[in-house]
């Protein structure tokens, strides 16, 4: 479960709220669904991470994620914009992107799917639900879900 073809599984968490990021990471870590979670604070950093530039230019730290958990309202570059760039990029568009946000606005949901988000999940208020969701997300996307071979 923790590896795919012997490779460690990596999740890119894009979340401007550090508390939320900690909640997600602790939820995932407890379930041990991911080998590694990389957390970035805004859209710009997310793209820098993907393209291994800026402070992520070190090839050791730069690693292609198996799953992107993306918040929508982000400083500098908005979540939807990041989604669009990822999904339009031939290089990254096969990476499953799960929108994880506190917004349950219709427009956000519609726009996300328009930009080919793979899933849209609203952050639950309840702690137990939140923990369960993190567990399920990990199991589903990194376990049950089959991803194409990365070229």
């Amino acid at each position: 479960m923790t590896t795919l073809n012997g490779e460690p599984l990596t999740i890119l968490l894009v979340e401007d709220n550090e508390a939320h990021a900690e909640l997600v990471m602790r939820g995932m870590r407890d379930q041990r669904v991911a080998n590694r979670i990389s957390h970035v604070l805004d859209g710009e950093q997310a793209l820098d991470y993907l393209y291994c530039r800026g402070k992520f230019s070190d090839p050791v730290t730069c690693k292609r994620p198996n799953l992107i958990l993306l918040d929508l309202r982000l400083p500098r570059i908005d979540g939807l914009e990041v989604l669009r760039i990822v999904k339009e990029s031939p290089e990254f568009r096969r990476i499953p992107v799960v929108i994880l946000t506190s917004s349950d606005a219709e427009s956000d949901i519609a726009k996300s799917y328009d930009h080919h988000a793979n899933s849209y999940v609203v952050k639950p208020l309840d702690f137990k639900t939140f923990t369960k969701l993190m567990e399920d997300l990990g199991f589903y996307w990194l376990g049950w879900n089959t991803t194409p071979v990365i070229e």
């Binding site: 550090e18 508390a19 939320h20 805004d42 309202r73 982000l74 506190s102 639950p124 137990k128």
Partner: protein, 817 residues
């Protein structure tokens, strides 16, 4: 015009009625005849020879002849003196017939030396009593008596009306003339002692009887009148009548004078009778011939001239009358000659005297001549008192009048011209104008309705006669242009000057196109009112051509300013509502999202806290609690800022006039502590203008901007902030400029969004710049950021109502005026 009067006048000229003088003459001769007869009877009775024979030794008058002349003389006078009735006429006629009967028997007997029984009886009686003077009647006397009696019968059988055609009347004159001439001849015979003339060889007629016959004949001629022979030839205007009138008396006078002279010369001077008579005869013949010749010459000239003139006048009259009669009968106007009937000086009624054909055709009233209007149109006095009043006034004063009137009783409109040919009469010439009047009223009503419709709809109409270059406007169109009809000369050039300069070409083009193609393009223009304000109008129209090649452009114009302004206002409102709506949507979305975040944090870490507590992981507890606490703080900040944001625009301090520099200094003072700590140099421009603003809010803006600048200084070794003003795109713009980290172009708009932060880790809720933007917008200004990129510093520009500039802040409306 008195057509009815010329006719009887003409008749009178041709047929003169019996003259009074002739009546007198008839009376006088009748009296003389009767007197002669009476004297004969008296002479016979008293035995006075001079009374019965006048000339001594001559034959005395017979009793029967005297009686006849007395009777005839009385009969000649009778009708003139007393007047007689029909039955009396019959009696007289019978008596005269009896005398004629007796005369007819007597005449043949008398000629053969015998006498009729009545004459024998009378003769026997008179011979018995007056043997000296008794004498039988002579045959000539019998003939004259027979003639006289016949003439008298004819005279009495004549009708009362002298104008009536009367053939036997002629015979009266003829008989009268024969009697008079016979009497005259017999008298002359006695006077000249010529027994042949009075029948001395046979049974002579008495001188008295001859005289009576002469008188009788003259009387009969006078009684027969001038309308019959022989006096007929003396009357009238014919040349014959005139010559007779002039020369008949002259001839008689000459003959008498000559006779007198003959007698005078022969007797008094003792000159040879035959010689004197011959010489004087020649002399008088010459004089007479010359006089006649001269008189005839003068007279014929005069007569000919008069005749010519008369004929001319008659012809003119005839033509004129024919012409007038033709006009009168054929004229389309009704004509009525009427006589007004006044009662107590007030017009009460009138009588139709003459009307023409059109009168009946127009009014539908027939057979009106000789009748009163009250009889023809009963109740006209009550229904149309005005008509009688006007007619009465014209008939009374003679002042003509012209008027239009609706006659209630006929339900018709008349146009009447009335004048008075003579006092009390009036002539009305009229036309029935009901149709025209109705059409006029209909037209008037239609025009009023149209005008009202135009004014209600704010639609004006116009027409332009291209050939004649005449333009006409409806009243409403003047109102639309804001001008009074009298004060504007409707020429194309003038109208053009009232159109907005930018729309004039469009107007010219459309009119030209309409004239050349016949198609009018509906269009919207702006026009200029005299006070300089603009109005919006829509114009539409069409082309009318007539058979003479005339072209008229007709059009309607509607004032759509109100509608247009309303539409504009509505659009502005809709836009602002849409904006507000979008803003609100964004706001609620943002709020729900950003307020939910700390909640998730709090509940999440409470769960973790519980777990950590159960595990006894004490150091972890501390971090959990810190997370919860900071999330709660964040929530509080968010709420506070939101409240602040919502207050802007709702709670406004009154704007005041203040130097912008002062507000800057106040802001600097508030921030003194933090500025000093960071050692940021602030440079404030000197010539900052006065502004008209909410002082507190603008200070808040400056504090915010300075704080921001300070916050994003990065690792700048010589941090510096400049505050000043420059002209940007023609308007003054204030600026706060720093030399900090700068902003990439793509984020320059984003930073003003609600809860937007460029760095997730910096302090603050992300509401500050939103509040700044809102405050500037409430002041009617704009705010924007310029930066050349990362590390190149940032400049925030904003505009505000500056004193001396046109934009004045109005807090009540929250926008510039």
């Amino acid at each position: 015009m008195s057509l009815n009067e010329t006719e009887p006048a003409g008749i009178e000229a041709d047929k003169p009625a019996t003259l009074p003088m002739l009546k007198t003459l008839a009376l006088v001769f009748g009296a003389l005849t009767a007197l002669t007869g009476l004297l004969g009877i008296v002479g016979l009775y008293l035995g006075i020879p001079v009374l019965i024979s006048v000339i001594p030794g001559s034959k005395p008058i017979a009793f029967s002849a005297s009686a006849c002349w007395l009777l005839f003389g009385i009969l000649l006078m009778l009708p003139e003196v007393l007047g007689i009735r029909n039955w009396q006429k019959t009696v007289i006629t019978a008596l005269l017939a009896l005398i004629i009967f007796a005369g007819l028997i007597e005449l043949p007997l008398n000629l053969s030396g015998m006498h009729s029984p009545p004459e024998s009886f009378i003769l026997a009686v008179t011979t018995l009593y007056f043997p000296e003077t008794s004498t039988p009647v002579s045959p000539v006397a019998v003939i004259l008596i027979l003639f006289s009696a016949t003439a008298l019968i004819l005279l009495f059988r004549r009708g009362d009306n002298p104008d009536e055609p009367y053939v036997p009347g002629n015979l009266t004159g003829v008989l009268g003339l024969v009697i008079a001439l016979a009497g005259f001849t017999l008298v002359l015979g006695y006077i000249y002692g010529t027994p042949f003339l009075y029948g001395s060889s046979f049974i002579p007629i008495a001188f008295t009887s001859a005289l009576a016959a002469f008188f009788m004949g003259c009387g009969l001629i006078a009684a027969a009148g001038i309308s019959v022979f022989p006096l007929r030839y003396f009357t009238g205007k014919s040349i014959r009548a005139r010559l007779l009138r002039y020369f008949f008396p002259l001839t008689i006078a000459l003959v008498i004078t000559q006779n007198y002279l003959d007698w005078f010369l022969a007797w008094n001077l003792g000159i040879n009778n035959v010689l004197v008579i011959s010489i004087s005869l020649v002399f008088f013949c010459l004089i007479t011939a010359y006089a006649v010749f001269k008189a005839a010459e003068v007279l014929s000239l005069r007569v000919a001239r008069e005749e010519l003139l008369r004929k001319k006048v008659e012809e003119t009259l005839r033509i004129s009358e024919e012409r007038y009669r033709g006009i009168f009968e054929n004229m389309l106007n009704g004509f009525a000659y009427c006589r007004m009937i006044f009662v107590d000086g007030k017009p009460q009624d009138f009588t139709y005297i003459v009307v023409n054909r059109a009168f009946g055709e127009l009014t539908g009233l027939h057979e009106v001549v000789g009748r009163n209007v009250s009889e023809i149109i009963p109740g006209i006095r009550e229904t149309d008192p005005k008509l009688l009043e006007i007619y009465g006034e014209v008939a009374r004063t003679g002042v003509p009048a012209r008027f239009e009137i609706f006659i209630e009783s006929l339900r018709m409109w008349f146009s009447i011209s009335v004048y008075s040919p003579r006092k009390g009469d009036f002539v009305a010439v009229f036309d029935v104008i009901t149709e025209r009047k109705t059409a006029e009223q209909d037209l008037k009503r239609t025009m009023e309705r149209l005008s009202r419709a135009q004014s209600i709809a704010h639609v004006g109409s116009w027409q332009y006669d291209v050939n004649k270059n005449i333009i006409e406007w409806s009243d409403e169109l003047y109102r639309i242009f804001g001008i009074l009809p009298g004060q504007f000369d409707l020429s194309m050039e003038n109208i053009r000057s009232r159109i907005h300069p930018d729309d004039r070409e469009k107007h010219d083009r459309i009119i030209a196109a309409a004239i050349s193609t016949g198609h009018y393009d509906p269009e919207e223009y702006r026009i200029i009112h005299p006070d300089g304000t603009f109005r919006y109008i829509t114009a539409d129209g069409g082309i009318e051509t007539d058979e003479c090649g005339g072209i008229r452009v007709i059009g309607v114009v509607q004032d759509v300013t109100d509608r247009r302004l309303a539409a504009e206002q509505r659009e502005v409102l809709i836009k602002s509502l849409e904006q507000k709506n979008a803003e609100l949507e964004r706001f609620t979305y943002t709020v729900s999202h950003d307020l939910k975040s700390p909640l998730i944090t709090i509940r999440g870490f409470l769960g973790l806290l519980e777990e950590d507590a159960l595990k006894g992981n004490i150091p972890q507890l501390k971090t959990d609690i810190d997370r919860i606490s900071s999330a709660a703080d964040k929530m509080q900040t968010l709420l506070t800022d939101l409240l602040a944001l919502s207050r802007i625009g709702r709670i406004a301090n009154p704007p005041e006039r203040i130097a912008f520099g002062i507000i800057v200094l106040e802001a600097e003072e508030l921030l003194a502590g933090s500025l000093g700590k960071h050692e940021v140099a602030i440079e404030i421009a000197r010539d900052l203008p006065e502004v008209y603003v909410d002082r507190t809010r603008i200070r808040e803006v400056l504090v915010n901007l300075i704080e921001n600048a300070q916050k994003f200084m990065g690792d700048q070794p010589e941090p510096e902030i400049q505050i000043g003003m420059i002209q940007k795109e023609g308007e003054p713009a204030f600026f706060v400029k720093d030399n900090g980290i700068g902003i990439e172009p793509q984020y320059q708009e984003k930073i003003f969004g609600l809860f937007e932060k460029l760095d997730a880790r910096t302090d603050g809720s992300g509401v500050g710049l939103t509040i700044v933007k809102r405050i500037i917008e409430v002041h009617g200004g704009r705010i924007w950021v310029e930066s050349e990129g990362k590390g190149k510093g940032t400049t925030v520009f904003f505009t505000l109502p500056v004193i001396g500039s046109k934009c004045i802040y109005n807090p009540a409306e929250g926008k510039n005026t």
